[in-house]
Symmetry: C3
């Protein structure tokens, strides 16, 4: 199919005034709700140099560098990791950007609402932790986005994000608020939840065409762009797992996460070539499975898992993730009709479940002697380690149930109203030409015949910006 | 025009020994002036563990992470944002690098000199704030560079930077030193000043050819490189607006800036597609207008604008910036003969002016009751809010006047001595081949006919490094 | 040579099951050794809120931001700097990633072992400084990797890294433990050591073919990718030189490093064009020589070198490095048979030696009057400045001797067992197709004839992932 034809079809697909309407209406709603319910926290408002500061509200200095690390993971990490698709770089980094900003505002409201329940407060007080917690909600949505990458419209993504943030908070309300599960870095409520929510949506939206597109591929340069995302995720993951922890637990969470990520990366390199028919390394594994060591450590990062335990956790994560990419994902696509563009089941789903199981084991082995003063900081209600271990599993089950039910419902909503939600035509998957202007010059790996046209074609930007070109 | 011809013309253009001379002379001068006038501040020199430390000199820990964020904005942010030009990636990131380092040294001297006025001191004392303030001067110069990108030689840029840093300090001396305007993140003295200084230079240097070059375009990969710049600017902007603030105001500045940037990004996505004839998103808007929310918040970041106020500010900035790129910029180019390569008027100029107006409004609404202890930290001389609001506008007017006059004078200087300053030939705009070695293999989107030559051509690097190649 | 042929030869080269075996065996060994010898440091284990904390173990907050900066330098900095090779982007960023994670684990053990010598301790206690020190060992290995880039197999690199970390620790044991040399940012023990260790390996492994490959080249986009590495190295270098310093010395180290890097960059731009026959700038210099200002400051960063002294140091570093790339490197390759892919002699070797000499001079000029309280922090055993200066040179000589001997022995080991260590065939240098799957679509700058094949070829990823493609 030539370039002209591809463009014409793209024109037919959508009427994107809907995305504009959704975004503007949402933004006006955010302004109203922020005006009604949101204030600065005391540490950010007038009380300069107050000595009797509320211990609930943190000082900026203690968290800001870790918050910024997490922020980089969200926008550079997720954003560039997804640019591996040859023809979907704009959509990957662009819609990642749009969703992040939309969810920062929305999650500030919804997270704040759920935190007010039962407290008697009626104001949401913003400090740096509010944005860190908003980023955690953003990460959950972006994991789901990874399962759907290239197959959904901006409107569908915004609708999904809106609902997912609510389900995400329900899951945390039950799992952390009631069960008091430990999940500092979100193995359960973020990684597993986000992955299976997204996969449930993907299952409902499944079309055979999406598994057959020649556009679902990377090229040499797009794989290098993706490594920017991978490495910033890897580098700043210790901040992700340690940011919400307190004091000494934070130091331990950093150590455990670095060790788990390091052994996971070594193991990924070991396994990637051995499962390849030519004994070669696969960039998909290096880009993704290397990060599973961060996911699996999410629920145990602040526990006394011991340095060698962190190394083992990373090895397990790498093994499950690499084998998942290699053997399980094709089966899921073909047999279970679950298409997973970024392989979030392998990077977030299974390692997240393993992270929950790991935390249950580590909790069950916990004693007051080992943890000393931090025992009561970590384990609520003077629970025994074994009891806490049981609650970890209970929380996992609840989170998975809510993710699957919530994702399925969301998927059907998106499917029921394809016109309203700008659902994509089957020929338009994984292609920036659908939603982005001036991508005529994108890499022409598809068909040889598109090459000459691509070279001849002027970008519309040039057409607009220039009058008559000089003879040069 | 084929490759060979392009190269031959490039050879005729410049004698770049001049850039070498300028840089070496300047560097030797910097050494002499640093030797005569610059010392370590007490916190960086010998007094270890001093308990009676001078409150004027900050400890490293409190500012270093924010300083590094700002430093990333300068070199990765500005540098990569400008790589959107298909044939000017080396010049964008390279000259950005050169200018930054040149101005760090020069601004340390000039900023230090202006800060000494009236204090009786005769030494410039370096600590981490010195470099943060130098980075602010660098940012101002880089904004002006954005207006001139691809149309000026290194010598012209260095001359401009040298003069601009002086005008920048005069503007701050009047606006902050005398009028005591509030502008923590530089809406007025940095963004508006830098934009209109650069646009004034651009107006004077205007040639019709610069608006007609087919080389002034992006390609698919260069737009993704540019997103690296955009996103690091977006991510670290809270540090830019909060770094110079104090204590609790710093926390507030972070919150306000994150909110403004988020709503600005949502609004940019809403507007970008609706103003496009095919209802598609434009990477120019996503790369630039999303950042206007940081600019508009520059003068109000540490004020009590309230969270919903920050959201509204971001929406306004996005609207003005996106519409500016779409409708105003072509008019400026064609009618006003102001060519603005990066569209700094839309990203820094108009949002900067709006930021000044916003700060005036927020100041005018300020009361002691709302600000409590931070009132006297922010508002000098026990001024009323209304009075301060007036001074905000006065400072804006002065900054714009100095920018326009200073930029115009600088432009005429650069124009008067084209030979001395290596002025570019009209055919050499937006093309790395002029100043950079071994760019024969750059993306050949220009003309189909250049493609085969480009593939055959050996880079000169290969020619130099290799002897006779083996038969392989 | 066409694509098909290139691939077939690559298949013959290696049996990469060996890399898998090495990595898995090493990883299991790491788990056992960590289990036997490694614990959390007190600040990371149970003692929450302990007031009587061991001053030997630092709090997370004081070092974490600087540690993360260094971590970014290692993985983004080194990793992307080496992506300048047109056909070796995966191997550059990928093997950099693999080596880093392998050495983090290995160096934690070996560094910890060497630190225990003579202390009576038998446990390695992990805190954030352990990882910072591990990153320093990683950097040393990566510098050696730079000399060998594209010419060695993963197995060879892992064997080299294993040995180099031991030699590195011996060198530090003698130079710092016994001679008490000052080298906060590693001019001697990291940059010079790593460079000459790698060059010794490279000398032993020298084959004429490696200097004649048309694949040892950059292309336009790969040079821009490399700039991501350069700039993050440049930006975070102050953290590298200041991280291991204490308190006020840290502030001074930041200032000295920023100044040295800035003047080095200005000087590099000045010299790069003047040594070019067409008066054009060379990206090799901008990518590398700009960083020599950080290297030369490594041993003097925390000394009272004075701001103007830092500027001069940067100028000297730029001059030696740029001229080294231009004039010395071709001679080394042709006459001395030392092939240096990344030019580590110019970036790390010679500037590292100069850094040692500089530190000797600065030490010799030191007086108690100038340093006040920090004199005894810096200079051990109440030594005079002149004595310390002598020990600086002695330490340099020892480090160079150990590097050259260690590197030569390592090189012969790698050469003696080419089959065991997967040594590369001469035709496979600088080519990702050897070790990486699905790189058929890499940039086809080599020969025109490869172009059409590259466009027709399906990546194996597509072949695997897709069934029968729809007719589109």
């Amino acid at each position: 199919m030539g370039l002209k034809q591809r463009q014409r079809e793209a024109y037919n697909t959508n009427t994107r005034g809907k995305a504009t309407a959704v975004l503007i209406i949402a933004q006006i709603l955010f302004v109203v709700l922020f005006g009604l319910f949101v204030d600065y926290a005391p540490t950010a408002s007038q009380q300069t140099n107050n000595t009797h500061h509320d211990p609930e509200h943190v000082k900026l200095e203690s968290l800001y560098p870790m918050f910024q690390d997490i922020h980089v993971m969200i926008l550079i990490g997720f954003g560039f990791l997804m640019t591996f698709l040859a023809h979907h770089g704009f959509g990957s980094v662009g819609f990642n950007f749009m969703l992040t900003c939309f969810v920062i505002e929305w999650a500030t409201l919804i997270n704040g609402y759920f935190k007010m329940i039962g407290t008697g407060n009626d104001r949401i007080l913003l400090d740096i932790t509010s944005f860190m917690e908003a980023d955690f909600a953003v990460a959950t949505v972006l994991i789901s986005f990874g399962a759907l990458l290239g197959k959904t419209s901006p409107v569908q993504l915004l609708v999904m994000a809106t609902l997912e943030v609510i389900f995400y908070n329900i899951s945390i309300y039950v799992g952390v608020g009631i069960f008091k599960a430990i999940d500092v870095g979100g193995s359960i409520f973020l990684h597993a939840f986000g992955a299976y929510f997204g996969l449930a949506v993907s299952r409902v939206l499944y079309k055979k065409a999406q598994t057959q597109s020649s556009k679902e591929t990377s090229i040499y340069h797009s794989d290098i762009f993706a490594m920017i995302g991978t490495i910033f995720l890897w580098l700043y993951w210790p901040s992700f797992n340690a940011g919400p922890a307190a004091d000494n637990e934070r130091h331990r969470a950093v150590i455990n996460t670095i060790l788990s990520l390091s052994s996971c990366t070594v193991m990924t390199f070991a396994l990637s070539s051995i499962v390849n028919k030519d004994n070669k390394l696969d960039m998909v594994h290096v880009q993704n499975a290397t990060l599973a060591g961060g996911v699996i450590m999410g629920a145990s990062a602040d526990l006394m898992i011991q340095p060698f335990g962190s190394l083992i956790a990373g090895m397990v994560a790498a093994t499950v993730s690499t084998l998942g990419y290699k053997y399980l994902q094709p089966i899921l696509t073909e047999k279970a009709k679950i298409h997973d563009t970024c392989g979030v089941n392998n990077l977030h789903g299974m390692p997240g479940i393993l992270g929950a199981v790991l935390s249950a084991i580590v909790c069950a082995a916990a004693t007051r002697e080992t943890y000393e003063k931090s025992y009561d900081e970590l384990f609520p209600d003077s629970r025994s380690g074994t009891t806490q271990g049981g609650y970890q599993i209970a929380a996992l089950v609840v989170a998975l149930a809510i993710a699957l039910v919530g994702g399925t419902l969301t998927g059907f909503l998106l499917k029921m109203l394809p016109g309203l939600f700008d659902a994509l035509d089957e020929n338009d998957y994984y292609d920036d030409a659908v939603f982005w202007d001036a991508v005529d010059d994108q890499p022409s790996i598809l068909n040889e015949e598109t090459k000459p046209e691509s070279l001849q074609a002027r970008t519309s930007k040039e057409d607009e910006a220039m009058a008559q070109e000089q003879q040069i």
